[in-house]
């Protein structure tokens, strides 16, 4: 019985979908009656009633209440007309048969109606289970998603699967203003009118659009995404009819889940922005403090020295000492400006590499020449292989990077010590090392030396703490790396590694 029911349940609905169920019940009862005729001749009319009852309950397993009611009534009439003697009349002779007929009618009805009811309960339970599952799955996926984009992707997928419609999320920008196009669905854009409706929904937190009382003249129905602390936005869907009953409750819960996840992400973003603001405020203050200090010192020197030269007569050696101070101060100012300009180039992302072939000899010579005065108290030892190939680099950037590294060395290494500059090419990678015999870095400092405005505690006055971060920026613009370690014999060792092409000079015309 169960098996048959199952088979019927699986195959019949697909077989008969499209046929009017009322026509079908008339047809099935007719056929059954015809088939029962030989049985009736053998076993009498009571058996037929059982078969008809069976067929009615079968029909009830997959038909609505109307057709089942029709089948029950029809089978009772058919049984009466064709099988209960006297045949081919509705008249019934025996009192017990009248009773039988009445019972048949009631049993057929009750049976049919009950089966339909049970089936509906079953269907509802199944739907509820599906919805619970869907919500459970949605919650799980939403909690896994990080970032608004991922949350939206999960939400869109969920709505597509469970509501058979393609939703369009219109989110706010963090300042309670709606975007007119989707954050994830860039190809979609609302018309001005639709945007107006979306805004209305956003500010009033009520649904609007098609099938609603508010502004129903648009294609979409707009639902607000309700949040507890802020409203993430609005979702627009194209519907065939408005959700009702269980479906509506399901939709509302679904939206609440999505909305909560979006709100979570929004608040996260806001918190991050706040952190960023605090950070940049701190940077600004550091920058301002150190720049004003760094600018004032050389300016004070220049003012003081030149004023002294103008207003009093000094012996020649004092004069030249004062001139020297002015010159040194101006060099310091110039270096400061250079570093600030480079930093702002890096910060604004305006660095575009101008790669060309260069001779490392030229680069090293230029930097050594520019730093001739600073390098005077030291011995600079340059080591470069005899057959050093040409390297494809941005000359200006690398010159500045090397300048900053060597300049740093001259500031921290003990006078008369050796500063080493080694460079070679290793399988398409240009390696440049600058080694000094200075104090090196403490474990805490070595982590931070490439950070902006970082200065080692107790380091000489002068300098903004930008030099090494510029080195890092310029080397990274070359897709290279810069590392620092303390040498075993004392001092620090900076290593730049820059990928460079191998020169192709086979076709030279000598």
């Amino acid at each position: 019985m169960d098996k048959t029911k199952n088979i019927l349940k699986t195959f019949l609905p697909s077989l008969i979908s499209g046929i009017n169920p009322y026509v079908l019940s008339i047809f099935v009862i007719g056929i059954t009656a015809a088939l029962c005729t030989p049985l009736y001749n053998l076993q009498g009319y009571h058996v037929v009633s059982f078969i008809l009852l069976f067929v009615v309950s079968m029909l009830a397993t997959f038909m609505g209440i109307g057709p089942v009611f029709l089948a029950a009534t029809l089978s009772a009439l058919v049984w009466n007309f064709f099988f209960i003697p006297p045949n081919l009349t509705f008249h019934i002779d025996k009192t017990e048969d009248i009773l039988m007929f009445g019972m048949f009618f009631i049993i057929a009805l009750v049976n049919g109606v009950l089966t339909t009811k049970v089936r509906r309960q079953e269907r509802l339970a199944l739907e509820r289970e599906e919805r619970t599952n869907a919500l459970f799955q949605l919650t799980r996926e939403l909690s896994k998603a990080s970032g608004i984009e991922e949350v939206l992707a999960v939400a869109i997928e969920g709505i597509k699967n469970h509501f058979r419609t393609d939703p369009f999320f219109i989110l706010q920008d963090g300042n309670n203003i709606l975007h007119s196009s989707g954050r994830l669905q860039k190809e979609k854009k609302l018309s001005e009118k639709e945007y107006g409706v979306a805004e209305w929904v956003f500010t009033h937190s009520q649904k609007a659009g098609k099938f609603t009382d508010n502004l129903p003249s648009v294609e979409f129905t707009f639902f607000p995404l309700p949040g507890t602390r802020l409203n993430p936005g609005v979702v627009a869907v194209k519907l065939e009819k408005l959700f009702s009953g269980d479906q509506k409750a399901f939709w509302d819960t679904f939206l609440t889940q999505i909305s909560n996840a979006l709100e979570r992400e929004f608040l996260g973003e806001l918190a991050q922005k706040a952190r960023f603001l605090v950070e940049s405020d701190r940077l600004y203050k550091t920058l301002f403090n150190s720049i004003s200090h760094e600018l004032r010192i050389p300016v004070a020197t220049i003012m003081g020295a030149s004023d002294s030269l103008l207003n009093s007569t000094h012996p020649e050696n004092v004069q030249s000492a004062l001139f020297n101070e002015i010159f040194t101060a101006s060099l310091r100012l110039n270096r400061l400006i250079e570093n600030l300009l480079n930093m702002s180039r890096l910060e604004s992302g305006q660095i575009s590499l101008r790669l060309d072939w260069y001779d490392m000899n030229d680069l090293v010579n230029k930097v050594a020449e520019d730093l001739a005065d600073e390098l005077k108290p030291f011995s600079l030892v340059v080591s470069m292989p005899e057959d050093m190939p040409m390297v494809k680099i941005d000359y200006g950037l690398l010159e500045q990077a090397l300048y900053n590294l060597l300049y740093n060395a001259t500031q921290y290494a003990p006078v008369a010590s050796m500063i080493e500059l080694c460079t070679w090419c290793d399988n398409g990678t240009l390696v440049i090392q600058v080694k000094d015999s200075g104090p090196g870095f403490s474990d805490a400092a070595i982590e931070n030396v490439f950070k902006k405005f970082f200065r080692v505690d107790g380091s000489k006055t002068g300098g903004l703490g930008l030099g090494l971060s510029i080195v890092k920026g310029f080397v990274e613009a070359h897709k290279g790396t810069v590392t620092v370690e303390n040498r075993k014999i004392g001092g620090s060792e900076f290593t730049l590694k820059i990928p460079t092409e191998k020169p192709d000079i086979q076709n030279l015309q000598f």
């Binding site: 101008r354 010579n365 230029k366 040409m390 494809k392 192709d504 000079i505 000598f510």
Partner: protein
């Protein structure tokens, strides 16, 4: 000592003009100065200065335009003195006919040296058959270069490169210009050829090839033949 040399300064910054006037007058140059491009062009035409110092950022005309206009009839040296330090600006100025450039801030000593070199190079007869630079001599007629009286083994390309730079002593020649003159138009992008040849040439003509005094590199711009 520089009594006959007049220098025209075209720069809109009064303080820079004053500084230049003090420094250059003290070195015996006669100074003319103006704060805008139009007057600069008129002064250049009426006073025939021996050299012009030109700023690129002028209020009325772009310095590059002034260079182009000047070069239609003015053949004395022009030194560009500008805060625009990008390689593109410098190369453009050199292509437009500047003999040399310095970026602000500059060292006065450096500027004076550049001025002297530019004026001297302008006076020198570069079509002389033999050019002498200390221990190096270049014989244009016989295509021979000697160092300390000994004949150098140079390839044809090396010799052309050396001649080109030597004839333009003191003047910055851009990579593109040298490549065009020595190798031809098809080689404008082949800066690595140039690097390799300069390195080879240095080994042959310089006293200390890793600290060149004759073939001087102008970072990212080109080369200059020193004195």
């Amino acid at each position: 000592m520089n009594d006959n040399e007049t220098i025209l300064i075209i720069d809109d910054e009064l303080q820079i003009r004053r500084l230049l006037e003090i420094t250059l007058s003290a070195n015996g140059y006669k100074i003319l100065q103006t704060g805008n491009g139009k007057d600069g062009l008129i002064d250049a035409a009426t006073h025939h200065p021996s050299l012009i110092i030109l700023d690129l950022g002028l209020p009325d005309l772009d310095g590059q335009e002034i260079l182009k206009k000047l070069r239609e009839w003015f053949f004395k040296p022009v030194i560009v003195l500008s805060v625009r330090s990008s390689e593109e600006d410098i190369i453009k100025a050199l292509d437009n006919g500047a003999n040399d450039y310095l970026t602000k801030p500059f060292r006065s000593g450096e500027l004076l040296a550049r001025i002297r070199a530019a004026i001297r190079a302008g006076e020198k007869k570069n079509d002389a058959p033999v050019l002498e630079f200390g221990s190096l001599s270049i014989d244009m007629i016989n295509h021979v270069a000697r160092k300390n009286k000994e004949i150098l083994k140079l390839t044809t390309t090396e010799f052309s490169l050396l001649c080109l730079l030597a004839k333009n002593q003191g003047r910055v020649l851009t990579h593109q210009y040298i490549l065009k003159e020595v190798w031809g138009y098809g080689y404008l992008e082949q800066t690595q050829y140039l690097r390799v040849f300069v390195a080879q040439l240095r080994k042959k003509i310089e006293d200390n090839p890793s600290k060149p005094k004759l073939l001087i590199t102008e970072s990212g711009i080109g080369y200059r033949f020193g004195d």
